[in-house]
Symmetry: C2
């Protein structure tokens, strides 16, 4: 039987990602790896998670190994609601749905709202795997201009007024791939424009906590809790991604619809690892863990930026993220980061070409660099190798 | 903002399930509960899973807490491939994709193949949450007649020839809700008809291992490994559902496409619980665990059937499952299991009305009874109460 003829039309948009294949290949080469999308496993709080797992096995295995509620483990939903409330986003438990990674949160929102041909607005550049979700629902993805303060508010307001727009997707804090944060004075403008246009905003706050500059970052929703906004958050970057515990928050009726869709999709989030995360956070471990990660990642960022300054000043430009895991380096116009890659690999350093993060094309001269994943001691040498490749 | 107007058309088909709400409410009432969809937590192999978790924390936490491959944890995929091969379905590792529960396997297959208006053939009755998946992709679900030997092969062959058919979904072994198993002599006929019509079969083998009658059950795919078939399997019914570890197997190019879709959807299955399951099965625990479950569940089934015979002979009919978790009881024509429910609850027993399991309507006189979830000592009393309600 010819299976190829049997696929739904949407599968034409679900294609192998050259970048993902590249990341996989490069992760296995003995190079200094700035290409990874991963956090540093040295930051995983192994001992406290082990204690949490032991407690579940002794106290709560009947529920921890059993089917669970579609909307998630209630005590963890309560914790998320309280945490969001403390961050300026007043949230009830009924406004929180637990999901399997914030990727699934993005996917559920897209599945709930996007029909073929609908316009989805994004930052330029934007998170590649979110772009793939929107493409898989046959959306027309249109990027909005950004600068060092994130989305250009005038361009966003104009774009939101176009007919056919269904969703605006943004990473307001320390975004992937550039590390950029949406400036405070743009936040309310953006949310007011979305409200005026009647367009939901999906704020992906995956990197919210990873802040290295002074000041505590706020979720976009805190700028206007009345705005039409859904917030996706995760424990992947603060605790451990392999547990697949994340959440989406928004108006209760919308969360209720998304929970129905979640149930259709895979019944419910992992009973066991939701409880691990809940025991971890309710034991009070998270603030110390975040402080530890901030300290370790800040040092890596600073060393990285210093090395770039020393090795590549005048030969390239780059973002200076206040937080997150990535920065975006830009070669002089006309050069191609893809074309440069094999030379870089020969020098012994890997990165991800930035082009695929630009939904409307372009960005060939950019590359995404993960500054948290490599060991601190490798960073200067890796940047030196990168400079040799670029020169 | 009016969110209701913003949803995609498919959300019209994602509606609250009265049956799911009912199950939730009834699970909390102090009644003898035949309504549950859950396995008996007394069967969870707690100690061995605890050992598996401890081993991950001491030996493999770097990978067990980290992001993983979209197609799943390779050693577990290898184990599944070898296990399927030993059951008469020759399978390579590349033919196995790990998913978050077989519900997600069904959902991914539907998303890959179903466009609005496509016909999906199912058994009548069929698994409610699969029907909800197909509805969510706006399929036209058409049931095929069944009897005590499962799908009627002539009706299936005729249905497969209709234009617009995209998929046949079946639970060949101990299905939900009736417990029926597809007769051996119908299997090759069914698969040949599907191959002739060029229609993929999705075989949901969630209950494969829960066999109480003599003979080792075979996956449908074993009847013809060349057939156009995808097999969904799970560790939920043999180990523990809260771990959300399941798989889908089929032709390698199709599995590869489904893995891309899985990556878009939620990146990958749970790194930690996949490793728990792998350590559990590779320590050789599964055959003893399955034997233990078979023994415990067989006794419950026998007590249940004996109680039905004693209390309800002549007042109702019911299926006599060779395995699984459920049987379907049928009241005399003209009676309604939904109408009877409040009376049953007053008597102190709960069940699920069977109507929603019939995709084309009908089945009002049926109810689904879970015979594995209640304690053994409650079964006769529960059936006695049910008989009082029916009388």
């Amino acid at each position: 039987m010819d299976w190829e003829k049997r696929y739904a039309g949407r599968m034409g948009k679900v294609q192998p990602s050259p970048i993902m294949d590249l990341i996989r290949v490069m992760s296995q080469r003995p190079v200094i790896n700035f290409a990874s999308g991963l956090p540093d496993p040295a930051g995983f709080p192994v001992k406290a998670l082990q204690e949490a797992a032991e407690q579940i096995f002794s106290e709560d295995w009947r529920a921890g190994l059993q089917y669970g509620e579609a909307d998630g483990y209630r005590p963890l939903r309560e914790w998320v609601a309280a945490d969001l409330t403390s961050r300026g986003v007043p949230t009830e438990t009924a406004q929180v749905l637990m999901v399997s990674g914030s990727q699934q949160g993005i996917d559920l929102v897209a599945r709930a709202f996007i029909q073929p041909g609908d316009i989805v607005l994004t930052e330029e550049p934007s998170y590649l795997a979110a772009l793939q979700v929107f493409a898989s629902f046959e959306a027309d993805v249109r990027p909005i201009r950004t600068d060092e303060g994130g989305l250009d508010p005038d361009a966003a307001a104009a774009a939101l007024k176009q007919p056919g727009v269904k969703l605006l997707y943004a990473m307001p804090n320390h975004q992937n791939p550039s590390g950029t944060t949406l400036a405070d004075d743009r936040r309310l403008i953006l949310l007011k424009a979305a409200a005026a246009a009647g367009i939901p905003v999906l704020a992906d706050e995956a990197y919210l906590h990873l802040r290295y500059d002074p000041g505590e970052p706020a979720p976009l929703a805190a700028a206007d809790p009345e705005a039409p906004i859904l917030t996706a958050g995760t424990f992947s970057k603060t605790i451990a991604p392999g547990l697949r515990v994340a959440w989406i928050a928004g108006p209760a009726p919308v969360i209720n619809r998304l929970a129905l869709l979640k149930q259709v999709t895979d019944l419910h989030a992992n009973s066991f690892t939701q409880r691990m995360v809940h025991r971890y956070v309710s034991a009070g471990h998270l603030p110390g863990q975040v402080a530890h990660l901030r300290s370790a990642y800040r040092e890596k960022r600073d060393v990285f930026l210093h090395a770039l300054e020393r090795r590549l000043a005048g030969k390239a430009t780059w973002t200076r993220p206040a937080g997150g895991m990535f920065l975006l380096l830009r070669l002089p116009r006309g050069r191609s980061a893809t074309a440069l890659l094999s030379k870089a690999l020969d020098e012994g350093v890997a990165y991800v070409p930035g082009g695929p993060f630009f939904p409307a094309g372009g960005g060939e001269e950019t590359m995404r660099l993960n500054f948290v994943s490599p060991p601190l001691s490798d960073i200067d040498e890796g940047v030196t190798r990168l400079a040799r490749a670029i020169r």
